[in-house]
């Protein structure tokens, strides 16, 4: 045993510091399926409470959809539970390849490779396709998993100011001499809910001979008229070189992700991407579920249309009530509170009122940008949203923030 008191203290000191900074993360135990109405045990050991969930990535409400569950049961019966292998040894079933083909079709790309998660897709793609002669130019607010993947790669890394195309163009000029250039963005930014300017990105990348990579995790399935994502929304479907996305959000919400794009890039990932090579294949039941999700999305746009309507209503209700929200059109709707303690207090009071919404503050978002991030789902009905706004207004009144400007809120609560 090499776990001395001193070693233990090293960790307890760090954990204490996290607690003292008010940043200690605690899980809330959900005693039901993922849905608009859930039953939560929080804090641990307390009696469960029925709440409306407005913080899930369950954008299309497919996490608990009866047809998806049925397909998963059937998949379990015909393809079993696990594969006990990575893909290239004996972990590839016919349905894995079928899902890759279907995702290629869905995203309008040339080929697709599955990964255990989008985190893994992002962690593996850069090292597989770039080396020290190349440069990655990323938006400064890209998801942490992209940052991690970039760190694992020997290519030079530079950044541009969030959604600032002029700054990106300067960087493309600066790095014009590099062998390969990749511009990296989120399609939809998870904290602010804003979209990358994908049409302009495509244009700039074409002009400077750079590849474009977009993480569509918060877009696949519902952004764009048929849910194909931000490229569809901006009229450049099929023109993005590399798309990474997840099956853990709108596309069923279980797990798994992929890299989809140019054929050679996908082939390079299949040869070299370490999370693909050294991690288990996606469980067959998950594949069966995602295949059914794609069937549902191909049959009808009903769910993404419902989500769009819900989002419009929720944004309208919050604005009319006097909350400050981040403008936009996506179902990620941040309610700005600016002060970290206020965000925590409002989240706690909302929970008491039966609304499950989480406060985000530094370092997850920039200092002074604390907020409650709400996420709307097609599984919400109008009553859910009306009840939620009623409780938001009640809590908002308690803290006297309704109709107040950013400056007034900061003056009262600090930044």
């Amino acid at each position: 045993m090499g776990y001395s008191e001193q070693t233990k203290k090293t960790y307890t000191d760090q954990l204490d510091a996290i607690v003292n900074a008010g940043l200690f993360k605690q899980e809330r135990f959900i005693h039901s399926s993922q849905a608009a109405d859930i039953e939560v045990e929080f804090p641990a050991g307390s009696v469960t409470k029925k709440v409306i969930n407005i913080c899930a990535n369950n954008y299309l409400g497919l996490s608990n959809h009866p047809e998806v569950i049925k397909a998963v049961h059937e998949g379990l019966d015909t393809r079993g539970y696990g594969m006990s292998s990575v893909r290239f040894i004996c972990g590839t079933q016919d349905i894995h390849r079928e899902l890759e083909r279907r995702m290629t079709e869905f995203l309008g790309t040339e080929d697709t490779i599955l990964f255990p998660s989008c985190m893994d897709a992002n962690a593996g793609v850069f090292e597989a396709i770039l080396n020290q002669d190349d440069v990655i130019i990323s938006d400064r607010l890209v998801h942490a998993s992209l940052g991690d993947g970039i760190r694992l790669c020997s290519a030079m890394h530079d950044t541009f100011k969030h959604s600032n195309m002029e700054h990106l163009e300067e960087k493309l000029r600066l790095h014009a001499d590099k062998r390969l250039k990749v511009v990296v963005n989120d399609g939809v930014y998870s904290m602010d809910g804003d979209m990358a300017r994908v049409d302009e990105l495509v244009e700039l990348c074409e002009k400077y001979d750079a590849m474009l990579l977009i993480d569509e995790s918060h877009a696949s399935g519902f952004i764009g008229k048929t849910g194909r994502g931000t490229p569809e929304h901006f009229g450049v479907h099929g023109k993005v070189d590399i798309i990474t996305t997840t099956f853990g959000k709108a596309l069923g919400g279980a797990s798994g992700g992929c890299v989809s794009g140019r054929k050679e890039i996908v082939q390079m990932c299949r040869q070299k991407a370490r999370p693909y090579l050294f991690s288990n294949t996606i469980a067959p039941v998950v594949i069966s579920g995602v295949l059914k999700v794609l069937d549902l999305l191909n049959e009808s746009t009903e769910l993404r249309d419902k989500l769009e309507q819900n989002t419009l209503l929720w944004r309208k209700l919050l604005t009319e009530a006097g909350f400050i929200i981040k403008e936009g059109t996506t179902p990620i709707v941040p309610v700005m509170l600016f002060n970290a303690k206020l965000a925590q207090d409002v989240s706690r009071d909302l929970y008491s009122e039966g609304i499950y919404a989480i406060g985000f503050f530094f370092p997850v978002v920039p200092n002074g940008q604390a907020r409650i991030r709400t996420q709307i789902s097609a599984s919400h009905n109008t009553n859910h949203l009306l009840k939620a706004i009623d409780r938001f207004i009640k809590v908002g009144r308690k803290y006297e923030i309704l109709g107040k400007t950013k400056e007034e809120i900061i003056e009262r609560y600090g930044q």
């Binding site: 970039i150 530079d158 950044t159 960087k171 600066l174």
Partner: protein
């Protein structure tokens, strides 16, 4: 050879344009890396800017967070390689 003060002014302006979102009152001695304004990724692009601007090559082992921690130190480093 560029004047040292002129060089400091150029570098400071680059750092402000590149990293400071608002008027942040940066000076030649503001800690950039230990102060959290410039991260290690951004340091790479700062190094590349200096190399292209002053037509020099700064060896990686000299491009340390310490050597890049404020504008004065950066200018001194550049002067060494001119």
């Amino acid at each position: 050879m560029p004047d040292s003060n002129e060089m400091k002014k150029t570098i400071l302006q680059y750092v402000i344009d590149e990293y400071a979102e608002e008027d942040s009152g940066l000076t030649y001695d503001t800690p950039l890396i230990s102060g959290g304004l410039v991260d290690s990724f951004s340091m790479v692009s700062l190094k590349r800017f200096l190399e292209l601007k002053y037509k020099i090559s700064i060896p990686d082992e000299r491009a340390t967070p310490e050597a890049f921690d404020n504008v004065t130190k950066i200018a001194n480093l550049v002067l060494e390689f001119l």
